[in-house]
Amino acid sequence: MSNLTRLTISEARSKLRAKEIKATELTDAYLDAIDAANGEFNAYVTVTHDKARDMAKASDEKLVRGEGGALEGIPLGIKDLFATEGVHTQACSHVLDGFRPRYESTVTANLWADGAVMLGKLNMDEFAMGSSNETSYYGAVTNPWRAAGSNKQLVPGGSSGGSAAAVAAWLCAGATATDTGGSIRQPAAFTGTVGIKPTYGRVSRWGTVAFASSLDQAGPISRDVRDAAIMLKSMASVDGKDTTSVDLPVPDYEAAIGRSVKGMKIGIPKEYRVDGMPADIEALWQKGIAWLKEAGAEIVDISLPHTKYALPAYYIVAPAEASSNLARYDGVRYGLRVPGKDIIEMYENTRAAGFGREVKRRIMIGTYVLSAGYYDAYYLQAQKVRTLIKKDFEDAFAAGIDVILTPATPSAAFGVADQEMASDPVKMYLNDIFTVTVNMAGLPGIAVPAGMDANGLPLGLQLIGRPFDEETLFQTAHVIEQAAGRFEPAKWW
């Protein structure tokens, strides 16, 4: 029975269509797994048992008739950032206490329209701000992976830590996630899962709680590359309700899987070889280069000269937008309200109690960099850097590079409550060093597991593609996946 949860989406899809298994069985298997293990992982902040069973039942009725969408009967976990009608939607923040929207995000509506089943809402860093899932009001998430011979709890990465942990621990067939500076790719790399951040504008942001509007994109975290392709196809759409979504047809991403990379030009940016990078990461990168070369791709050394400015510029742009986006959480209309003697005190009390430390830190940074007298020096300057970063990539692609290969993270998963990270926020921010450039440039990036470090923890490689060329990412990631094999944690729970 519990073997059902080991099926990938594509495997489950075949068995459901062939009527070898029922959607209700599959959903029940996941619900049982969640009920048994969520206490260990804290991956779900709410489990929607009844809704899941109702949706699965409806899927079975369709499947019996030989009908159903691309994800008919597939049980998914949904990051708490996505609005789900009548269901806990709090961005894992205290300030949204009790918030149950009357609307459904475009992404989840697309998934339900294709027949997917909702298992519940997944834990995350508060308002997607964090790289370890420890800023959640609902507590930290535990990574299903442990270092060899150790019982130490590790973080799953963040902000989509609940999504990555749930996928890796077989608590959902796949999960929605969001990525503003690496929040899909870093947790995917930390948990041996696949995560893709599509091109900005590929997936509608409508109904997804905003962190930094010009950087936020939703994408899937899944067990393998094919599953990511299947999920992204359903999640992506052009949406009249999000004017930054782009009116391009959504290709059949799955069809790209299995295509040869022969003759493809793979760019290796020298600026991603950072000081103090662990040997394991360097070795992994070289392995990736070797695999692609073996598969017939051409390896080209490239330069993306403004890379080193990306992280500081990101930590100006993202907090600036966040400081404005989070202004609506004022205790007036929904969520938490802490009374005060007047309106100002009510605002202050509500926001002081409602936001956690990291969110407050970013609101303050963002408010500062937008203030009169600082705007030009910080925000405007960061936007110029952003333009240059974008141009670096454009130049590389114009020179014939098809896809860029980099490490996904500068290290493997670290410990929960890591003292170094806790005492220095910048150390935590450095987790995003390889991923933020992609958000700043609005490009698609995929993290694919490629090996392990000396302690037996998974490591990921990142592929960066041309705008709206997710197909090439799936195609290339699949080649790495084939060479590296799949990575699954030893079950200890």
Binding site: F82, A83, T89, A91, L96, F99, P101, R102, Y103, S105, R205, W206, G207, T208, V209, A210, A212, S213, S214, G240, K241, D242, T243, T244, A320, E321, S323, S324, L326, A327, R328, D330, V332, R333, Y334, I343, Y347, T367, L370, S371, A372, Y375, Y379
Partner: protein, 500 residues
């Protein structure tokens, strides 16, 4: 923005102080609600007078994850208004966020346009006067810019002893902020400017201009200086909601500032409120307390871009504007500039007039509309849309005069009957026996009777032909005013043997 002083000090506009003359400098920021069915970034209705929070979408309430989508109709209206102001239309403009906390501002920011507005520089010609000689003066007032922005909701403080209520019906409604250059030099000019601006947007149909419903309100910037000196420190009087109050606020504020300066004080740059009950302005917040709005481009919205062809198509569909209409009435109908300016001052009046004037003598139509119709409306306190006399009815009255069926004097009576009782003027003339007598036989008899009854007066008249007028009056009296005065005049002279 560099401010250019476009006016030379004019003695007749100066305000005398205790220590000499002062010049008042005025610039206006008018917020005009865009006429549109839906809000600027949401599909919610903009109808006036709905129950509190009835016209609120998820976007207007700033629910988590909601995104603004620009309403193209509002963009068109802004462009049309810009064209009406003879202004530069910017093919690319940017929406920014103006950040501040207020309970009736759900997003915590207002979406506005800061550095790149949709409309740039333009101008409005205002007419001030008449002066003692009855002359009007045309003055050009520069427009600095027009931009689109969201309105806020409304906080209501008198419904509960300890709480305030919030009504979000207006939240997100499209406003055009129309910023003038500091080109006005008297309260009369400022009032004429707001009046003219309101006329233009009403002609265009881009704002209903109803200040009592809050569709148009003005922030008034006032400073004073000695003639010839640089601009003084200004104060901004917020949210003045009638043209009369604009005038009162400026008069009060100018005198307040002059009094301070003449006492050796200095003006603090601040935001003030006008209290219509007391007729005074009072401090709202100082420059130090001014918000830092932390403007930045709204990342939820792409820059607003359209091409020149789009603007040209809107320009081609623009209705005739008041200045053009005025010129046409003067040039083609031969009206005086004064009459024409009265007729074009409101679109409804101009529409009424043009219906009356169609196929008729323009001057006659103008006289009737201005003197009789507008006069009666003034007295009765109605507006022209609901005038008791329709353009067709008034036209028929004018036709009856022209045909000689009634005299001008009878026509005034007929107008009053139509005003009070309604009815077809032609039928009324018949049924009430108001028809002018043109039958010379009947008139002749009346003339003969009057001459026969007054032989001594006839004698005098033969000697002094101007006396003939007395006979004409007597005949008119005898015929109940219905005789054709010209026919009577001719016959009296013929019978008395007066030769001209």
């Amino acid at each position: 923005m560099t401010i250019i002083d476009t006016r030379t000090p004019d003695p007749k506009r100066l305000i005398p102080g205790a220590t000499g003359d002062w010049e008042v400098i005025i610039g206006l920021e008018v917020h005009a609600q865009v006429t549109s069915n839906a809000k600027l970034f949401s599909g919610a209705s903009t109808s006036f007078g709905a129950a509190p929070n009835a016209n609120v979408s998820l976007v207007d309430a700033a629910m988590p994850g909601m995104l603004p989508v620009i309403n193209e109709e509002c963009v068109k209206q802004a462009i049309r208004t810009g064209l009406g102001l003879k202004a530069q239309i910017n093919l690319k403009s940017v929406f920014d966020r103006k950040n501040y906390f207020y309970p009736d501002l759900p997003q915590g920011y207002q979406i506005s346009q800061y550095k790149q507005p949709i409309v740039g520089e333009g101008k409005i010609i205002i007419s001030v006067g008449p002066d003692k000689k009855g002359e009007f003066e045309d003055i050009e007032v520069g427009i600095e810019r027009l931009h689109l922005e969201q309105d806020a909701g409304k906080s209501i403080h008198d419904q509960h002893p300890t709480m305030s209520y919030v009504d979000l019906n207006r939240s997100g409604v499209a406003l055009m902020e129309i910023v003038s250059k500091p080109d006005m030099r008297s309260s009369d000019e400022a009032k004429a400017y707001v009046t003219k601006l309101r006329t233009i947007v009403r002609y265009l149909g881009t704002c209903d201009g109803n200040m009592d419903e809050g569709s148009m309100r003005a922030d008034v910037n006032v400073s004073v200086r000695r003639p010839g000196e640089p601009f003084g420190t200004r104060c901004e009087i917020k949210n003045v909601n009638s043209i009369r109050f604009v005038g009162q606020a400026i008069e009060y504020e100018a005198r307040r500032q002059i009094a301070i300066l003449e006492d050796g004080g200095k003006i603090d740059q601040e935001t003030r409120l006008f209290d219509p009950n007391k007729g005074e302005t009072r401090s709202m917040r100082s420059k130090e307390e001014a918000h830092d709005y932390r403007y930045f481009p709204d990342p939820d919205l792409l820059p607003l871009e359209f091409d020149q062809a789009y603007v040209d198509a809107l320009a081609a569909d623009l209705p005739e504007l008041p200045d053009d209409k005025k010129n046409r009435l003067v040039d083609t109908l031969g009206l005086s500039a004064y009459d024409a300016s009265i007729l074009v001052s409101e679109k409804a009046i101009a529409d009424y007039f043009e219906k009356v004037a169609a196929g008729r003598d323009g001057k006659a139509a103008a006289n009737w509309v201005i003197n009789d119709l507008l006069g009666a409306l003034n007295k009765a306190g109605g507006d022209i849309e609901n005038a008791p006399v329709s353009p067709d009815q008034l036209g028929a009255i004018i036709d009856l005069i022209k045909e000689g069926t009634i005299s001008g004097k009878i026509a005034k009576d007929l107008f009053e009957i139509v005003w009070n009782e309604g009815g077809d003027p032609r039928e009324l003339v018949e049924s009430r026996g108001m028809k002018q007598v043109t039958d010379t036989g009947a008139i002749e008899k009346a003339v003969d009777d009057v001459i026969a009854a007054n032989p001594d007066k006839a004698e005098q008249a033969r000697a002094k032909p101007t006396m003939a007028g007395w006979f004409v009056g007597q005949v008119m009296k005898a015929t109940g005013g219905k005789a054709n005065p010209q026919a009577v005049n001719d016959l009296v002279k013929a019978k008395l043997g007066i030769v001209e």
